[in-house]
């Protein structure tokens, strides 16, 4: 009788695979499925196609009321590289070196035109259809909140040149403003003949200091600023100015009611300039042509001053009235004065990529269940947490890299093509562009991980895809592409849900000195860019934790 030795495998017992082997295994699963590779390729290719088609033109009303298409002029660029509005009426003389200007403002009045026949619906620019009412206009008197009248030192009379100004506004008190974006509050309150304001600007090289005063003897310094673009030595222009932005009422942050061009008139007294070469050489210049709808009398758009007429009169020694229309401020694409378009247009194609990465993430998890592959996976690597971590890491890395390539190509190339197609896109700083590229790639990668986590929980690809698309796209459409919800509800959706991450795509900061629709549909989000991405990361993390817990608790 032979005794059989019990079977012993000749393969030495091994420890469970390390995390690196798991990463390798998951990477192999990702790269060897043809559909997954096609999906990654689509992420790169799809977004670019979406920006190819947009062509823009601006219509100009001609004599007789018919409209004519012209290429949209791009906004002028300020000294710091940002798009600006620079149209005003400037009464100036040359200031060859250091010097100062002092003036007393004894009154600010205004007039505006509006279309009485055709009310403007709130949120009028939603859906990409901003309509300038072209009906007959009526005239009314009154200043705009940010009508500006005051004294100014400006590098030149060309649009976009550097400046510093002390000014009195329609209803925001006395301010010092410089280089379009700078704004500091001075004295508050309305101006009248009985309650005038004295203003003073002092140039010392490229540093300009602003003062205001209630009586002309006690002066308060409002601010002293290095004005970028103002030559440290050399001739600049000094004088009086008036500007008044487009009349547009706002209700609850949304445009409501008719809009039309406006005019502000300032009354000055005791104007004194030091440091100029001669005296009495004042010259009036209308900087920028001013944009606006047609005005009564069938004149053309772009010259509202033919009725709301920019002009100046010297009424005595050192006494002037100056009337001007236009806006001198940073360009806000959603403001009524702007014809600029937002950089975000170039990223609209990213939504195609987002759909693809969501499907990819959900399938990467759920496909294991469909064919029973998950049992092989767990036989090879018993630690379920580690498998989930490896899967997420591989998916995150793959979608982030592919997303980075996609956005890194799409944004610069898309912007170039959009501008070549006549779309007046406002420029952004290089750092903002880098933030939008990296942030959008992160958004794609974390959305894929969220889909992976939900796919792991649901174990069925369709359920996971539907859930993630519903959670991301429906709030986005309700908040950004429709006006069904009030602004406050839209902003809450963009704080609480994964769509908060789209704040990484906000290209321009809001400016309190420019009245505009700062709404999600105009590209302004309630959270700061990185906080918004943090909200998505939190959602993905919670979903991953829940998926891990379920994975440990459930049989496969």
């Amino acid at each position: 009788m032979t005794v059989l030795a019990p079977y012993r495998s000749s393969v030495a017992p091994t420890r469970p695979p390390g995390f690196l082997s798991l990463l390798l295994a998951e990477w192999t699963k990702l790269r060897t499925v043809r559909g997954f590779l096609i999906a990654l390729l689509l992420v790169v290719l799809l977004p670019l196609g979406a920006t190819l088609l947009s062509r823009s033109s601006c219509s100009v009303m001609t004599v007789g009321g018919s409209s004519q298409s012209v290429a949209c002029p791009a906004a002028p660029v300020g000294p710091d590289g940002e798009a600006v509005e620079d149209s005003l009426y400037f009464v100036h003389q040359a200031l060859p070196a250091n010097g100062s200007i002092t003036a007393q403002v004894t009154g600010v009045t205004g007039e505006y035109a509006y279309s009485a026949s055709k009310p403007h619906p709130p949120g009028g620019s939603v859906g990409g259809t901003r309509v300038n009412a072209a009906g007959p206009l009526s005239l009314a008197s009154g200043t705009q909140p940010w009508s500006k009248v005051g004294i100014m030192i400006k590098a030149s009379t060309s649009q976009g040149s550097a400046y510093a100004a002390m000014l009195v506004t329609g209803s925001n008190g006395t301010r010092m403003q410089w280089d379009y974006t700078g704004d500091t509050a001075g004295l508050s309150g309305a101006v009248s003949a009985s309650s005038p304001r004295w203003l003073r600007l002092v140039r010392s090289g490229s540093v300009v200091t602003g003062y205001d005063s209630l009586n002309g003897t006690t002066w308060t310094e409002v601010g002293s600023y290095q004005v970028h673009g103002l030559p440290a030595s050399g001739t600049v222009q000094v004088g009086l100015f008036a500007a008044s932005p487009t009349h547009q009422p706002f209700i609850g942050g949304l445009e409501a009611g008719p809009q039309g061009p406006s005019l502000a008139t300032g009354t000055f007294d005791g104007v004194a300039v030091s440091g100029t070469s001669g005296s009495g050489s004042w010259k009036g210049t209308a900087i920028g042509s001013g944009d606006g709808p047609p005005i009564p009398g069938g004149r053309t758009a772009g010259s509202p001053r033919s009725v709301l007429s920019s002009s100046y009169h010297q009424t005595g020694p050192g006494a002037f009235t100056v009337s001007g229309t236009g806006e001198i401020a940073p360009d806000v694409p959603s403001s009524p004065d702007s014809i600029g378009a937002s950089v975000q247009v170039a990223l609209s194609g990213m939504f195609f990529a987002l759909v693809v990465v969501i499907i990819l993430g959900a399938l990467f998890a759920a496909a294991e269940y469909r064919r029973g592959m998950i049992r092989v996976t767990f036989a090879a690597a018993p630690s379920r947490w580690q498998v989930l971590a490896a899967k997420s890491a591989v998916l995150f890395a793959a979608t982030f890299v592919v997303g980075l390539i996609a956005v890194g190509i799409t944004l610069p190339v898309g912007l170039h093509m959009l501008r070549a197609g006549g779309n007046p896109i406002d420029p952004i700083p290089a750092l903002t562009e880098a933030r939008m590229i990296v942030g959008t790639a992160l958004l794609l990668a974390f959305a894929a991980v969220l889909a992976l986590a939900i796919g792991t929980m649901a174990r069925r690809s369709m359920l996971a895809i539907v859930t993630v698309i519903v959670v991301i796209f429906i709030p986005y459409i309700l908040a950004n592409a429709t006006n069904l919800l009030p602004l406050s509800a839209q902003e809450w959706l963009l704080r609480a849900l994964p769509v908060a991450a789209f704040s990484i795509q906000q290209p321009y900061p809001p400016y309190h000195q420019v009245l505009a629709q700062y709404t999600p549909s105009s590209g302004y989000y309630p959270l700061s860019p990185w906080t918004g991405v943090g909200v998505l990361v939190l959602w993905a993390a919670v979903a991953l934790a829940a998926a891990g817990w379920l994975l440990r608790r459930r049989d496969v």
Binding site: I251, G252, Q344, F351, G421, I465, V466, I469, L484
Partner: protein, 289 residues
């Protein structure tokens, strides 16, 4: 399920003749088989119930969130469309309707059931036609409940939010021609989207991919048209987008500003569904299952 399949399978053997009456009875048998399959799946009822409930719920949430600034509540100031506000739950409802359409067709590809179905009913267009009728029937039932509930919620909620007769609004009612049209179009829209989804699922033969394509088709158009500065292109995209054409069909206020009239909008959605069903039919007819 087995008995229905068995009777459908037995039918060609028992009635071996030819003729127009026979084609009709074959179609009826296929229809009966599809109805049995759908009715005996555990998820169907819940999906249809979710379509009705979630549509109403989102409509209630949007109606409840609505407010207008005191003094600026006239129709000219708000531009609000009460019917469209009440029906905003359709953003969610169409997703679930699309799921119904995808599951009825794509579910069979996931399990391999499609091979049994085609063995029992070899005429493939009969299978697709039967599935389309069943999908349309059950979605119609769910949509009537969803739209009716949304309308009722809007009628009860919106007057309290400033959209009242005192402010110059017409209170929602099926007795108004425009509201009736909006509601009919909303019901038809959900049914049409379910058929579109069924067609796409037959064309791509995979539930996950099909629902991804349908939802992409629905949601990408409005997102892209909201940001592009080219108004002419945006208007054309709005005209061909199924979601926005459907939304035009549910509009009761400011019709002159729409890129399509309501019934033209409904026609665009129907064209998408017909196109998808034709594509699905061609794939089913000429390719292996």
């Amino acid at each position: 399920m087995t008995s229905a399949v068995a009777s459908a399978a037995a039918s060609p053997a028992t009635t071996a003749g030819r003729g127009p009456g026979l084609a009709a009875s074959r179609l009826l048998l296929a229809l009966h088989a599809e109805w049995t399959k759908l009715r005996t799946l555990p998820g169907t009822f819940w999906l249809l119930a979710a379509t009705a409930v979630l549509t109403c719920a989102l409509g209630v949430a949007v109606s409840a969130a609505y407010h207008c600034t005191a003094g600026y509540c006239s129709p000219a100031d708000t531009g609000a469309d009460p019917a469209k506000l009440a029906l905003s739950g359709l953003y969610l409802g169409q997703v679930l309707a699309a799921c119904v359409g995808v599951l009825v067709v794509g579910g069979e590809y996931g399990t391999g059931m499609i091979r049994v179905t085609l063995a029992a009913v070899p005429r493939r267009l009969h299978v697709l036609a039967a599935k389309a009728v069943v999908v349309a029937g059950v979605t119609l039932a769910a949509s009537v409940v969803a739209v009716g509930g949304s309308l009722l919620a809007g009628r009860l909620l919106l007057p309290g939010k400033g959209l009242s007769a005192a402010n110059g609004y017409v209170v929602l009612s099926l007795a108004n021609g425009t509201d009736l049209r909006a509601c009919c179009c909303a019901v038809l829209y959900l049914v049409t989207i379910a058929l579109l989804a069924a067609g796409i699922a037959a064309a791509v033969k995979n539930s996950g991919a099909a629902i991804g394509i349908v939802l992409g088709l629905l949601f990408l158009f409005p997102i892209v048209t909201a940001v592009i500065p080219d108004h002419t292109l945006a208007r054309h995209l709005n005209q061909i987008s199924p979601l926005q054409a459907g939304s035009d069909a549910q509009t009761t206020v400011g019709l002159h500003a729409l890129p399509l009239t309501p019934w033209q909008g409904m026609g665009v959605v129907a064209l998408w569904a017909v196109g998808a069903l034709i594509l699905g039919g061609l794939v089913l007819r000429f390719r292996d299952a």
